[in-house]
């Protein structure tokens, strides 16, 4: 026991049970150790360090991620140390338990002493002992002792002291004053509250599940498999008395299970009720950030006569018995999608239609191989900052680009391309484009292809023009018609020239302008490259322009007598060439058009049963109360000995002791002494 916690005459000594001292030495020293300050501070520091590890090292990630980060060796070591799930690790729980035991020991050892100290006035102190207190003073008072006794009693009361009096044989009267006993209660409250909070937290921990796992009754599932295939060993029944898990329920559907994250996998918790989600609503700010989301849920249980209907939202859960149902997230619940897949290498525009939904995988058999399309997500809004001109025009800071689908296309080797396709065109520099983004590495940003919209704001013209370029026979036919053979060249040369143009068009279609440059660099001697390249580019653009002009004529956009095309069609041509130039970087030759959709959202609920919560709250309340008593109430003792000297004078010896060694103690004592000295 340290000196500051001891009262003057060591109530601890008195409090000590005589039987205890007969206990074997070792028993006592274990208790000593458990209740020692050094252990307590060590445990506090250990807890803090463990917590630091737990926040700096990302917890509960997939094993592979850790192996990538730390290498197989260290990942294994860290895993065995439980560093990837610190807060559930055995040693962490052990530290907590030790803290509990240590605090409990400390409280048990100190309580009798402190309780005694709260009640004890120490009025039996001898004059000599009074003189040896930390603060003392002596003086004479010009009044008879009985009068002094009355007045000083009043002063002590005015200063908030309660006191006891003791009359010695020689007539000396000793006041033993005491105030601020609540301070000791503060110690008890804070330390008992720690124990209570730890017990509450243990109720809410997964100790029961840990026990079952250790005894082989329970095994977490790690594979992403459908509910009905999850083995019984990964299920937890209604007998689990505390849990916290989550479930996604699509609108219109219901669920009576919960997924509990557990180590590297999860467990399935059976619920004693069923939750149906009638509707999910989300509102957005004009920045596109979610403003609020809420679900209309219906809870049915065998014991209920009538189902409970309630709308829950963030910060407004539904409490049913000792279960709490929270709105925690939202997502796509399998939005129905009608998709048109345009083949990008076909000489004809004949898209395949598929009806699918988010979270589904569609096999695609194409002439260029078999693929799988995985539809990952659907977003109704894509809000981006508006351009400066738009801001001026509409006054709005944000702009909605409309719905998108996010999906992956995977080839037979398993390589995947991820796409983000917009359903509606967006305006760029006054022209409308359909944006489609592609990437092969998830951490990279999307690279966008801009498909120009035609006069009907549709992609139709683009796909038709592309089909034309994909059709060498048609290209050759048009070129022959546009450039009839003149008499000046031979049949062979003419054929060669047309063939060259047609092949350049095909090369451009397949590899873009870079393809032509590459071809020249590989096949033409260095000194002639520039000349040939200029010639090829000239021929390519002549051929493309010619094809486009013919194409427009066929569509009736250009009258037979016209020699030029309008500005819109000119710009469109440039944009189309820019898009086609990049199409060879677009992955498998398909474009997915979102034709229509029916949005189905899902709501993410979190459901908890936490019997320890109220225990923890109760402990917390005690803790706050206790902390204030400890800090803002000081246990103060004062002694005033009144020794009758003559009929008219009394000798006064004053002393004081404070359980905290603060500068105020001294000034307060001086003040009280001054007050008593001036007693009239």
């Amino acid at each position: 026991m340290s000196e500051t916690t001891q009262a003057i005459d060591s109530p601890q000594k008195i409090a000590k049970n005589p039987k205890k001292s007969q206990n074997p030495q070792s028993r006592r020293s274990i208790v000593e150790f458990l209740g020692s300050m050094n252990l307590a501070v060590t445990l506090l520091v250990m807890l803090a360090i463990a917590s630091v590890i737990g926040t700096v090292l990302k917890q509960d990630q997939a094993v592979q991620d850790y192996i990538i980060k730390f290498g197989p060796f260290w990942a294994e070591v860290f895993r065995d140390l439980g560093l990837f799930h610190v807060y559930g690790a055995a040693w962490f729980i052990l530290v907590l338990l030790f803290l509990l035991v240590s605090t409990a020991t400390c409280v048990t050892r100190n309580t009798p002493g402190f309780l005694k100290e709260m009640k004890q006035y120490s009025e039996n102190l001898s004059i000599n002992a009074i003189k040896h207190q930390p603060l003392t003073t002596e003086f004479d008072l010009a009044m008879p002792q009985p009068q002094a006794v009355q007045k000083i009693g009043e002063t002590l009361t005015a200063y908030g002291y309660k006191f006891k009096q003791k009359v010695h044989q020689d007539g000396t009267l000793v006041f033993a004053g005491l105030k601020g006993q609540w301070n000791r209660l503060g110690y008890l409250l804070t330390h008992i509250s720690i124990i209570i909070i730890c017990i509450g937290a243990l109720f809410d921990s997964n100790l029961l599940l840990k026990y079952r796992e250790l005894t082989g009754q329970l095994a977490p599932e790690t594979r992403p498999i459908p509910l009905n295939q999850i083995p019984k060993k990964s299920w937890v029944g209604k007998d689990n008395f505390s849990f916290r898990g989550s479930i996604n329920i699509p609108e219109g559907q219901s669920a009576d299970v919960l997924f509990l994250p557990y180590e590297e996998g999860f467990l399935v918790q059976k619920l004693p009720f069923k939750i149906k989600v009638k509707d999910f609503r989300i509102e957005f700010y004009d920045t596109g950030m979610p403003k609020s989301f809420e679900s209309d849920i219906v809870l049915t249980a065998p014991e209920l006569d009538k189902p409970i209907e309630k709308t829950i939202s963030v910060n407004h859960p539904l409490i049913y018995k000792n279960y709490a149902i929270y709105q925690s997230s939202f997502g796509d619940g399998g939005t129905k999608l009608k998709i048109k897949v345009y083949p990008l290498l076909s000489p004809k525009v004949n898209p395949i239609e598929i009806n699918t939904a988010v979270d589904q995988v569609e096999p695609l058999k194409t002439p260029v191989g078999t693929f799988k399309a995985e539809f990952n997500d659907f977003k109704l809004f894509n809000v981006v900052p508006a351009s400066e001109e738009e801001k001026k025009k509409t006054g709005k800071k944000m702009h909605n680009n409309g719905p998108t689908i996010i999906f992956k296309v995977r080839d037979e080797q398993g390589q995947a391309w991820e796409y983000e396709n917009y359903m509606q065109p967006t305006l760029q520099e006054g022209r409308w484009f359909y944006m489609t983004g592609v990437r092969t590495v998830p951490s990279e940003p999307f690279r966008y292809l801009f498909i120009p919209a035609d006069e009907h704001k549709s992609k139709q013209r683009f796909f038709e023009f592309l089909a034309l370029l994909n059709n060498p026979q048609q290209v050759e036919k048009i070129l022959r018609k546009a450039f009839p053979k003149s008499d000046k060249i031979s049949e062979k040369d003419y054929n060669l020239q047309i063939k060259l143009m047609q092949q350049l068009v095909t090369l451009f279609r397949q590899k873009g302008f870079d393809g032509i440059t590459d071809f020249v660099q590989k096949n033409v001697p260095k000194d002639q490259q520039k000349k040939v390249s200029d010639f090829y580019f000239g021929q390519t653009s002549l051929a493309l322009q010619t094809l486009y002009f013919e194409f427009l004529k066929q569509k009736g956009r250009v009258k037979p007598e016209d020699t030029d095309i309008n500005d819109f069609d000119k710009k469109w041509f440039e944009d189309a060439l820019a898009a086609i130039n990049n199409i060879n970087h677009y992955g498998p030759p398909m474009y997915f058009e979102l034709e229509s959709f029916k949005q189905i959202q899902s709501t993410g609920l979190q459901i908890t049963k936490s019997p320890g919560k109220n225990i923890v709250y109760f402990g917390s309340a005690l803790l706050v109360l206790g902390v204030f008593f400890l800090f803002y109430v000081r246990l103060r003792r004062v002694w005033v000995a009144l020794i009758p000297e003559t009929e008219e004078t009394t000798h006064v010896i004053m002393a004081a002791k404070d359980n905290k060694n603060l500068p105020e103690t001294e000034t307060e004592f001086a003040l009280l002494a001054e007050q008593i000295k001036h007693t009239k």
Partner: protein, 395 residues
């Protein structure tokens, strides 16, 4: 109570008595009540039961605070006056938030942006003045320094009040108390730290410590300036759904009393260590003479950490209760929560070695200083380096 022997004149240094019956305090109480009623009447529709409860609590709290510490009365009257000018000026211009760049008072004094800038500047001036006062031994400059801190606090509080209003003017959907983003809580931090310091300065006569405390305040001001000019964090953003709760109004201020008090303790620790070092060399140097005694600084450190610990305890518990309501669990080992626990354990250990082992002075001063690093990490580092449920205020 009044006895023949009891002489109140001798009693001036005792704990402050709550004397509600002096004319000044009666007027003060009436004014606070009036302001609360006005707020209730004007904004009552926007408040739910809990928020009305908070308003009631704040009213009572302000009355008590003003009676306990009369200078707060003047501060809050100044804040109320400036806030009124701002509201009135907005009203005059059709409540269009854009007039803050045109209307005279708003542009130069009381729009939230300008008031905050005044606060920043005044804090820096205050630091300089405190140090001049310390080295030149000038009592007058010392008074000016204290006045500058009070003015900075007044401007800071005005800036917060006006920002609160502005958030509604931009878009009623956006409206919220400015305690939600890292930028906003930094302003709260400098205000709270300064107020706690001012309290102890008056009570314990520790003007010489002002410059040291203003070091940490000025560092925070530097952050606010960088955050404003480089990141434009001063732009008012709407709240994410999880933050839309009355809990924010109590959890955040409680937390910042904790952070503020811990920072104050760290700066006192710094002053302690410097003084201690210099006293070793020359106990009679003018600097050592000008500083408060080592015992006084040690005591202030303890008082400040106690205050911080008490409020940090409350704040953490309130945070747990909020988490239980918003995320479905009172404790999730989310990095911010966990770091709050680390901070709390750190100061619990500090208090234990002081109380039960009787440590004093130098080691505790070092510990308080290191504690500031831990606290800063919990406050700022978690948002910068760790992700979690609390990642609202990411840099």
């Amino acid at each position: 109570m009044n006895t023949a022997t009891y002489d109140p004149k001798l009693d001036q240094n005792r704990q402050p008595k709550l004397d509600f019956k002096s004319p000044r305090n009666l007027i003060w109480s009436a004014l606070v009540l009036l302001a609360a009623l006005l707020a209730w009447q004007t904004y009552g529709d926007l408040m739910n039961t809990f928020e009305k409860g908070i308003l009631t609590g704040v009213t009572a709290g302000l009355i008590v605070l003003g009676v306990l510490w009369s200078r707060v009365q003047i501060l809050l009257l100044a804040v109320a006056g400036m806030t009124y000018i701002a509201f009135w000026s907005y009203q005059l211009h059709g409540n269009d938030v854009k007039v803050q760049d045109q209307a005279f008072f708003l542009k130069f004094f009381v729009s939230s942006q300008t008031a905050t800038m005044w606060m920043n500047v005044l804090f820096i001036f205050a630091m300089v003045a405190y140090f001049i006062a310390l080295f030149k031994q000038s009592e007058f400059v010392g008074k000016v320094a204290t006045f500058l801190v009070w003015s900075a606090v007044a401007f800071g509080l005005t800036g917060m009040m006006v920002r609160w209003r502005e958030s509604y003017l931009i878009n009623p959907d956006y409206g919220h108390i400015p305690l939600s983003s890292l930028y906003e809580v930094f302003i709260l931090f400098v205000i709270v730290t300064s107020l706690i310091y001012l309290y102890y300065e008056q009570k314990m006569k520790t003007k010489a410590l002002g410059g040291f405390v203003m070091l940490v305040v000025s560092a925070a001001v530097g952050f606010i300036l960088w955050y404003t000019f480089d990141r434009h964090a001063n732009v008012i953003q709407p709240l994410v759904p999880a933050l839309k709760s009355y809990w924010m109004k109590i959890h955040v201020p409680a937390n910042f009393i904790g952070y503020g008090a811990f920072s104050l303790a760290a700066m006192v620790g710094l002053a302690y260590l410097i003084t201690d070092k210099l006293a070793e060399k020359n106990p009679n140097s003018p600097f050592v003479k000008a500083m408060p005694s080592l015992e006084k600084m040690d005591d202030l450190m303890y008082k400040s950490i106690s205050l911080g610990f008490a409020f940090f305890t409350i704040a953490t518990i309130l945070g747990a209760m909020w988490a239980a309501e918003a995320w479905g669990g009172y404790w999730s080992w989310d990095p911010k929560e966990t770091w709050a626990l680390i901070v709390w354990l750190n100061y619990a250990a500090w208090l234990h070695v002081r109380m039960t082992k009787g440590w004093r002075g130098r080691p505790l001063a070092w510990w308080a200083l290191v504690g500031l690093i831990v606290t800063t990490f919990a406050f700022l580092g978690v948002n910068m380096f760790l992700s979690g449920l609390h990642s609202y205020g990411t840099l």
